[in-house]
Subunit: 199 residues, 4 copies
DNA sequence: CATGAATGAGAATTCATTCAT
DNA sequence: AATGAATGAATTCTCATTCAT
């Protein structure tokens, strides 16, 4: 089966990555089995090693690929409108990505919440553009007096992303019971902006 | 007075559990080593099996023990005062517990965020008393018009607990950089009640 | 099976080493199977790893143990007598060791002839006392005019050891046809001292 | 004139054999990699299997080819002159072959010293013409009283070849420190004929 | 009870070999 | 004829668990 086209190779690679994402999302790095991943992708176990030198490298590639795809999250953020509108749009873009790449994004979220030495830099690299986008929106909001200025933008941005992450976890954990993906953008924004207190 | 019993010589079982909590918190269920746990507790590895039938049982016991200890979280909640005061007190009590039993609480949080089939019931069992306490406070708040009534108490309570958990994760992940434990009660309450928007 | 006596542990270790020596002698480092060695020694495959951290370490230990036992080779050399008598005695002592530890000595000889980077230092360490003993005998012989002085002692000593090694290899290769072990001491000495030419 | 054909463009098979000889000489049968051999020869790994059915067959072919080339060793032996002169000429011819085909000859020597069942017949087949040539020279020498008659010609011939082999091993092992190739013919003859004893 | 040596199922990884292109 | 992707048997090594002492 030699002389396969470059695109065919890329397809195999993608199938392996996708299977790996599913397994890592469900089982974590340690518990996921290389054999099972390969088999799940439709190949014998040896095949995986023609594409990735080790389980750890495969995991890193899943993370990287997840990040690469997630770039759309923040690049889709629109420029104009109120802070509420822009944050909602950002969250909506994010939800779209998550819906399409559930495995990858689960792995990202799991790693983000685990804070492991080995993957921390990768995760930070992935999160920071998203965070910066949020910070910019918030900074604009402070200027327009939409956002309170008694808490640092960075901390607020972290909270926004945290609440969003939280809702994903809740979504995955409840198997879609509550919340569902579609309601997440509004939920995260109202939670973040308005709080629970009566005004 | 509690201090007297607490300082009493730890039983073998408790030492094993504490060591297990530390290791599970750091390494997770799969990566933690039975051998290392036993050794860390000051025993040979065989000893552990005189107290727990398997690694999985040990993990479950750590979870259970963590829950048992965490009961103080919500039982310490005071009855009177404003919603803000009561939620702050509840969070403060929670922080106290976390500070004392960091390993156990990390394991709980990690499991809570992973939503694994095997441990889900245990986690829910642990969370529900806490959640119900929050719900009660919020229900009181709705009655006193301190809390908005356009969102179900249950969902709001979940968000409160989620934000609290988030701050713990952020605390552990940043190695105490931000936030520190002491600032968490106020942070969670203001985030939850007030939101980021200017009023 | 805990609380085994120290001597029982040593026995297990020795059985593993002996089995390893047999297998390494026959198959070499790469082809020998850790599982087969453990099984051959009468243990399950995992047991070997309670005594040696890796196949390479095991191999090194076999080499080291072979060297340790081979110390008798040269320490048994008598002081007095003619060069011929002393060399014969040295070779005879060597043959005795080889007869008792055939596996170990085969591994040593194989490694000595392979000159691999990894084991070269160990081999040299093992050979040098033997070589020095030969050199001393030869130096005495030069003084007493028994040995020709037109070739460096070191090179002559290397040749002596080489011829001895050669005879072992020939013995193992011919499966004892020629030479047999008993005839080796005289053979090596007459080959080394007298040469094939008529005088 | 031989040089013309020799410098002719090597066929694929010959390039593969040459690469294989290099790798087998360095790494041995087991550790050498089919992949690396093919690549080293300038082909993809599949190509090798168009010429040799298996790694073992390839190894056997390297051995056979080494033997075929080594025929010059003994065929170059001159007829006239003293035993010393004839043996020196034989060794010199041998050294020339070794110098040109180092990889092949290293594989041969390694195998000769390992005495493995699988390759023993091949090795013997290769050695016997060389041995017979030596035996003939020695038999002539016995007749002319140049060679002692108290030891069988066959054993003496084996020792001569053994000492020669030994010097090659020592040359390879010391990376040319001692002896160098040029000095080997005289060394082997003087060691073999004269011995170390003063006459 | 505590111990820790022995166990062996299981996991990651290697690599000679096959075969479609 | 050359290629190199796919294969899967084989191998090393890990570690939870057992159990004799």
């Amino acid at each position: 089966m030699a002389r396969i086209t470059a695109s065919a190779k890329a397809t195999v690679r993608e199938r392996l990555l996708a299977a790996a994402a599913r397994h890592f999302a469900r089982d974590g790095l340690k518990s996921a089995s290389v054999d099972a991943i390969s088999l799940d992708a439709g190949f014998a176990k040896g095949t995986l090693y023609n594409y990735f030198p080790s389980k750890e490298h495969l995991f890193a590639e899943v993370l990287t690929e997840g990040c690469r795809r997630a770039i759309q999250r923040y690049s889709a953020a629109q420029q104009g409108g109120s802070v509420r509108e822009r944050l909602t749009a950002l969250a909506a873009a994010d939800v779209t990505v998550v819906r399409e790449d559930e495995g990858f994004q689960q792995v990202l979220v799991r790693e983000a919440l685990a804070f492991r030495e080995e993957t921390y830099p990768l995760i930070v690299e992935h999160l920071s553009p998203f965070l910066r986008t949020v910070e910019e929106i918030l900074a604009d909001g402070v200027r327009t007096k939409e956002i309170r200025h008694d808490r640092p933008d960075q901390e607020l941005a972290l909270m926004f992303m945290g609440i969003l992450t939280l809702l994903y976890v809740q979504y995955w954990g409840s198997r879609g019971q509550w919340p569902d993906l579609d309601s997440i953008p509004e939920l995260v924004v109202t939670t973040f902006l308005d709080g629970a207190a009566v005004r």
